[in-house]
Subunit: 256 residues, 2 copies
């Protein structure tokens, strides 16, 4: 497909790389910041612009990889587009694109994308569309860059995004808290890296529920008390420790 | 070194495999459960016993890979040992082995070890010892199976264990909660596996503090409200969401 990429951030960059690698034609990159647009266009071996008036009108697909709040704004500028318009936002409804084009959809990458990462991580694509023909078009496009393609409604996409927040933002925050903790206590946080990786690798094949271990699960009150004693001067860490312990011990009972 | 392994669980098995692979002589496996001891001994190509009276007395090292509470119990049985006695427990003080032998120490693997795992994950070893000569002996032994070897006091080992609980038990529990959430909502949890792996891989080289993203960090109140609305009927998930969001937003300020 011939694609115009709107945006120059992490999502625009990584999806741009994947789409180009899959053989699609990247016709143009649009970015408000001319330098950023030019840099991404250079990498993708195409042209760039920061003027709506010169955005190509002959693309099959306009990929809006912009912030949630910018989707509506950009939509106004794309009134002319004949091609399919898609946004990449988890929390923006499909109908947020109504009026932008006859055919529109959602192309949400369920991954933490960082433009300065060397690897292109495996990235499930969650799609939705205004009509069946567009859905099939997006399905083919998604399959060209990912083995995992799923159609989901606005509500289900938001639920997957919530799960992504727990699995990425919250786990990373636990790492960050322990990075700070180690720094304060004069310990080397990098000693924990192999454990962090093993924890994530294990659930690539096993159920996390079945992989659970630790003092909370086995109700090892001696260790739990020793840990809590260490956290006396760290109320927020202590609160997290207590809540996570309670949640683990709630176990399979549907308490939550 | 010539080693007797006491215990047949995950730690005994994985350390046994690593020590054997590094060329050490595994003289014997002791286990209360004769079948388990026999199975591990078979794998390590050595003999086994479930009688203290026939435990070999000529080992250089007795590796106590048993539960925290069993360390003291086992110590009573090892009075005869000439070799160095070490335990593998994070939360058991070094002096928990006083009286077991002239030389004793700690050999704590900072990793989540599972005997049915196919891979032998990278495993930092945290050591301590009753005397300098023993410390050097354990350092050499640890280096034979790991690139990361650190000496730490009882207090620091417990602090590292606390960090391990956050980085392993608590993150795995977040995965488990989302596995349940997806099951309830009819979503496929395995879609989150690539994100989980990427999150852990990123902090192998980058600081988690600098890797933080998400609606909490950018104070995207629209998305935060939408997520909280989804959690109305899940009080525990909501409590976790609110606390983690507050903790992320506390940011670099030393609130905890």
């Amino acid at each position: 497909m011939n694609i115009v990429i709107i945006g120059t951030g992490n999502t625009a960059t990584i999806l741009g790389r994947k789409l180009k690698a899959a053989g699609h034609g990247i016709l143009q990159v649009y970015g408000r910041d001319a330098a950023a647009a030019s840099a991404l266009a250079y990498e993708l071996d195409t042209e760039s612009t920061n003027y709506w008036s010169v955005v190509r009108r002959d693309a099959d697909l306009y990929l809006l990889a912009v912030s949630d709040v910018a989707v509506d704004e950009v939509k106004q500028e794309l009134q002319f587009a004949d091609g399919t318009v898609v946004h990449t936002a988890a929390a923006v409804p499909l109908d947020g694109l109504r009026g932008s084009a006859d055919h529109y959809g959602v192309f949400y990458p369920l991954q933490s994308l960082q433009k300065n990462s060397i690897r292109l991580p495996e990235t499930p694509i969650i799609i939705d569309a205004s009509d069946q023909a567009t859905l099939h078009q997006l399905e083919r496009l998604a399959h060209s860059i990912s083995d995992r393609v799923v159609t989901a409604s606005d509500a289900d996409r938001l639920r997957l995004h919530l799960a992504a927040v727990f699995c990425n933002n919250f786990t990373n925050h636990l790492y960050a808290l322990m990075e700070d903790w180690c720094a304060r206590e004069g310990l080397d946080f990098t000693l924990l890296r192999p454990l962090i990786l093993e924890t994530a690798e294990r659930v690539q094949t096993l159920s996390p529920r079945e992989s659970q271990t630790g003092p909370a699960l086995r109700n090892d009150t001696v260790t739990l008390e020793r840990h809590l004693a260490l956290l006396e001067e760290h109320p927020l860490l202590k609160e997290l420790y207590v809540l996570m312990t309670r949640s683990i011990q709630a176990g399979l009972k549907p308490l939550y």
